[in-house]
């Protein structure tokens, strides 16, 4: 299982480009900039910069096939937006895998 973690980051109004630049400079890979910014980065980076921790969880991928997917669930209690980013972003949301409704 790869230890790269994706997240959607909500920029402060009018701050998309600056937020993306700052995240990139911190080592995150910016994948898409829209109303939210899609980024990915090594878990170690998330832990170091946002103070978030992860644990492995299982989730049903499809009831039809009975398959499960493994993913890292972020524990948000410890998440802290660093001071450098406080003016640029308002929220961080870590994705969980969807279920396919076969």
């Amino acid at each position: 299982m790869k230890a790269i973690q994706s997240a959607e980051i909500t920029p402060a109004p009018g701050q998309s480009a600056q937020a993306a630049r700052a995240l990139q400079n911190m080592g995150f890979r910016v994948l898409h900039i829209g109303r939210t910014i899609s980024v990915e980065g090594q878990q170690e980076l998330w832990i170091r910069i946002f103070g978030v921790t992860f644990r492995i969880k299982k989730k049903v991928q499809s009831r039809e096939t009975g398959t499960e997917s493994l993913y890292y669930e972020a524990r948000m209690e410890t998440l802290k937006i660093p001071d450098d980013l406080k003016a640029l972003i308002t929220d961080v949301a870590f994705m969980e895998p969807p279920e396919f409704f076969a």
Partner: protein, 489 residues
């Protein structure tokens, strides 16, 4: 264990070959430069009577195993060392991809004659056999035609088009031409089904996904066939998901398709939308309201599907159509495999709006669909034991499956027909047309137990999609520019 290993090694050391028989006329050879083999000339190359049997006996005496004696050649096999000894030659191991179109499907090794290496037919075989060649492995192509199974099921495209009543619209020349439809899902394998039907079936990667040519799970490849059943001439783009489904949705939305279909989601029975889904919620609203994209989502198969429950999307549930007619239409009932519910997150929002075709419990084995051979779904549902298994092979590239995952792309196909007829239709008007034209389903109940009944009901919403009735409504809708229409006094 040791014996198994030895068997495997021996199998690897075997050469399978064809020994071509000499023709009756000594001066005639099928290998001669100017030889042409066709229906008119084939008799010239016929060996004398009994030559095949004689050659087979000699081959057997030499130690080979004869598998078949044909008119023009004998098929056999034998160990590599025997081959090299008998024919005074050498072979070498070669490796090639199983499929050039799908290099990730692995490689296959085989023994091959080395060019310009001596090769001599032994005297005992000389009178009967002109040449002998190790046989190279073929490339296997999954069939564009589905296998036959014995229970009631629907096939794409014809059965699904007929029951959704889109085939009549196609006869009017409305086939989805010029309409871009996007679908984020597990992947989009280039199954010959798509090629042979001449569909414009393209795939791309979400920025965090890899291997555009593969669909390891099989879901996207299978469900996409439902769209083409109702809209065969659309331009289709599948977006293969990586770990972030929101990113895949946004990637598809950035292409500004006219229609998007999504056969996935999260099970959210409660009143709170988790924070991690807020960005997706925003992306869906942006797609519908700012970009004018008609967005279809599956309601779920017993799930309280999100984003299917968002008010902005077309939430698609399921109806089962039997083989027999009941009056002018098929006998139908609400699928007990498909979801229906009232959203706790969005008060006043009922799911579904409208339905596509979905099978019944236990597994909704109902629609024959193509997928990557040997993928997760092919393996999981393949095998005997209907209705829990689909009675197809686990590696044939076909499965019989359904669920609201199939229903959403069916309805999206009908949306594409409407967008061809009146490109300016807003997502809200498309939804209104689908609901106004749906066929009432009065029997059965949904997975959650809500009953179907006269008129709009809990289980099926407005009912089963009706492509032709929707088309008849849409073609008369005139898009008015609000700036030129005087406001009501």
């Amino acid at each position: 264990m040791m014996a198994k290993k030895r068997d495997s090694r021996e199998k690897q050391e075997m050469i399978v070959f064809e020994a071509a028989l000499r023709s009756a006329a000594p001066e005639v050879s099928m290998f001669a430069k100017n030889s042409v083999l066709n229906l008119d000339t084939i008799d010239h190359f016929k060996p004398p009577k009994g030559a095949g049997r004689k050659a087979a006996l000699v081959l057997q005496e030499l130690g080979f195993r004869v598998r078949h004696v044909g008119t023009y050649s004998v098929s056999g096999e034998g160990p590599r060392r025997l081959w090299e000894k008998v024919f005074h030659t050498q072979v070498e191991m070669r490796t090639q991809p199983r499929s050039k179109a799908h290099p990730d499907a692995g490689k296959i090794s085989y023994w091959s004659h080395i060019a310009n290496t001596p090769f001599r037919i032994p005297p005992a075989l000389e009178p009967f056999v002109e040449r002998a060649y190790p046989q190279l492995p073929p490339t296997f192509f999954e069939s564009p035609l589905p296998p036959r199974v014995k229970y009631h099921h629907l096939r794409v495209p014809d059965d699904v088009a007929m029951v959704c009543r889109s085939h009549i619209v196609h006869q009017q020349g409305v086939t989805g031409k010029g309409v871009l439809v996007a679908m984020p899902d597990t992947g989009f394998y280039k199954h010959p089904f798509y090629l042979w039907h001449g569909y414009n079936y393209q795939a791309t990667l979400s920025p965090d996904a890899i291997r555009v040519e593969r669909d390891e799970y099989g879901h996207g490849t299978a469900e996409a066939a439902n769209i083409f059943a109702n809209a065969p001439d659309i331009d289709f783009i599948g977006v293969k998901m990586g770990g972030n489904a929101t990113l895949a949705f946004k990637t598809a939305s950035d292409l500004y398709p006219a229609v998007m279909t999504n056969s996935w989601g999260w099970d959210l029975p409660g009143a709170v939308l988790p924070n991690f889904l807020k960005p997706l919620e925003a992306a869906v609203i942006e797609a519908v309201r700012d970009r004018g994209i008609v967005v279809c989502f599956s309601a779920g198969n017993g799930h309280y599907g999100f984003p299917g429950q968002m008010p902005d999307v077309i939430a698609v549930g399921g109806v089962y159509a039997y083989e027999e007619l009941s009056g002018w239409d098929f006998k139908m009932e609400a699928s007990n495999y498909a979801s229906s519910f009232d959203s706790q997150i969005y008060p006043g929002r009922h799911v579904p709006d409208v339905c596509g075709l979905v099978g019944m419990k236990p597994q909704a084995v109902y629609i024959m669909l193509p997928l990557e051979p040997g993928c997760t779904i092919d393996t999981a549902l393949g095998g005997t034991g209907y209705p829990n298994k689909d009675e197809t092979s686990k590696t044939d590239g076909w499965t019989v499956i359904s669920g609201t995952s199939a229903a959403s792309p069916q309805v999206a196909g009908v949306c594409a027909l409407l967008k061809q007829v009146v490109p300016g239709l807003s997502p809200a008007v498309v939804k209104a047309i689908l609901k106004a034209s749906a066929r009432d389903v009065k029997l059965g109940q949904s997975y959650q137990g809500q009953p179907a009944g006269e008129g709009h009901d809990g289980a099926t919403g407005a009912g089963l999609v009706d492509g032709y009735a929707a088309y008849q409504l849409a073609r008369s809708v005139a898009i008015r520019d609000l700036n030129t229409v005087p406001p009501p006094s």
